[in-house]
């Protein structure tokens, strides 16, 4: 049974979907434990670890990858040292924080959108002002275009804010809906249940161990009694006690077996699940990176389009001509070009 349990674990390691293949010739950690390690272990919160310095050195499951599956086996005592948090909980907290960060980034972008809308509103309002609307001629045309250019600028910033909404804010907001937190809860309960089962099976092991000890003591006593005075009655008792002691030994073996099966199951689930969380975090970072890049792309676009709003103004300013404007105005406003002459007597 024990061997099988460790093989199970081994198999799950060799499953590439879940773990990188181990270096060739490497022996499953679990196997080694069984073969070599004896009485050099400790159990903390019902999980059994090799004692420091004892037993063979463990290789990381995924060396040089800082994989979640290699660093969260121990429970962490909280500052007060009263309760302790499972390593897996630390991974779940990281996921929840990541979700929160993504939500806050969307909020930030939303604020930026509001600022752009306000700016655009003010610009287009001003572009409609009638100030200096009566300026005439080529100068008047340049001025009119300058006022119009504010409307164009407003359009550019409005377009920016619309794209910010659809191409940055919304994706950041909708990436991983509420299902995400539900999924995390599932993981959480699944791993927590295995820990509870492990605890109860550890309790049975302790109970069985004590029962065996009692039986062995009883057998010892009866054997001593036999040496003192021979009687058939005692012979019977000893046979009976030896049977019970053997039975208690079998019980303990069975309990330890069940305990190790559960611990192997928990081990497998810890490895696969923590690696799923690891994948989720990579996705989150790449998703955010991609959409922050979209933000800077839109900013660049905005600056480019803004440039183009000024060009027609520049062109008309170049054609401003005081002589032409005088001609236009004089043609419209002249009172008379016949000059006075001297009076005769």
């Amino acid at each position: 049974m024990m061997m099988e349990a460790s093989f199970d674990t081994e198999e799950s390691f060799d499953d590439p979907s879940c773990l990188a293949p181990q270096p060739p010739g490497a022996v499953s950690p679990a196997k080694r434990q069984i073969k070599e390690v004896k009485e050099t272990k400790t159990t903390i919160n019902c999980v059994t670890f090799p004692l420091p310095g004892e037993g063979p050195e463990q290789q990381l499951l995924k060396p040089n990858e800082w994989s979640y599956c290699d660093y969260f086996w121990t429970d962490r005592k909280d500052p007060q040292g009263t309760t302790s948090v499972a390593g897996f909980e630390v991974l779940l907290q990281k996921q929840l924080k990541g979700k929160q960060m993504q939500k806050e980034m969307a909020e930030f972008v939303h604020e930026r959108i509001k600022i752009e809308e306000e700016y655009a509103k003010n610009l287009s309002k001003l572009s409609l002002s009638t100030l200096a609307a009566q300026e005439e001629g080529t100068l008047g045309e340049a001025w009119t275009q300058l006022k119009k250019s504010l409307h164009d600028e407003a359009e550019v910033h409005l377009k920016f804010s619309n794209k910010l909404h659809s191409e940055v804010e919304k994706p950041l907001l909708t990436f991983r809906g509420d299902n995400f937190k539900k999924d995390l809860k599932k993981y959480d309960h699944h791993i927590a249940d295995l820990r509870k089962q492990l605890a109860s099976r550890y309790a049975s092991v302790e109970k069985a161990r004590k029962a065996l000890a009692d039986r062995q003591k009883d057998l010892e006593v009866k054997t001593q009694q036999l040496e003192i005075k021979l009687s058939n009655k005692t012979e019977e008792d000893i046979k009976k006690a030896r049977r019970k002691s053997t039975q208690a030994g079998d019980d303990l073996m069975r309990c330890v077996d069940l305990y190790n099966q559960t611990q192997s199951k928990w081990f497998e689930e810890m490895v696969t699940t923590s690696m799923e969380l690891e994948k989720l975090e990579v996705d989150r970072i790449e998703w955010i990176q991609q959409h922050l890049r979209q933000y800077t792309t839109l900013r660049h676009e905005t600056d480019m389009f803004n440039q183009s709003t000024v060009e027609p103004v520049d062109q008309l300013l170049q054609t401003v001509d005081p002589g032409k404007d005088r001609e236009l105005w004089v043609k419209e406003n002249k009172t008379g070009e016949v000059r006075p002459v001297d009076m005769d007597i």
Copy 2:
């Protein structure tokens, strides 16, 4: 006297500070009038003009220039036809309107400045927000830079608004202080006074013309009386009447002389002053053109500087690395890397 008066006018034409030199061989309009034009003139509002179609054709003082000095000789009847506005007043109105336009453009720029300040205020406020401040690793750095870039953008827009104030709004506002309107009033009064003087001298001419007519009638009567019955007494009367008639003729000649002098003086002042106003308008248009160009230059600058605020964000976004971020986080948060092992009996 008349010739002198017309010469005065002629000289003032040849004064280059006041007029472009006339085409070679051209004869002063004034001269021609004296030599050729007879009984072909009309006087409107005390100003004497040649009758349409009568007399030699007048050349423009500044051909092809649409110069103010060529097109505002007549007074303009207002729509109701009750009062009439001097051509010079039309030129003054144009100046006042130009001043108003320049003032309104400054106002417009001021409004733009306020919009930029508001935008900058909102951007830098948002850049200080703590949203997603706990994002970690390389992604956290990129995010922090993105938030900082809003502060840089705010700085760019603040710089824009400051330069708009000092390099566009202020020059437009301070160009031609209140002295300008005082100067216009001086011109106005100067020309108006000459018109008043012209009116009073025209009145004296009319009076003298009537006096001469009376005297001539009187002489005629007395001469007829002489033909009927001779008497020394009448001889005396006729001599006396002839003297008075001659005197009245001299009076009229003097009055016409003075009238023409005044009209020549007004003519000169009209030419020189209207050309000063023409120059002022050219200056105004070029001044405004120059400062609206400054506006577009500043707008271009702003777009350029804005571009540069995004670049550091782009760079940090390129270095975002989920693997690196996992390493950093795991190093700080790992609970334990020793894996559980099977329990022994």
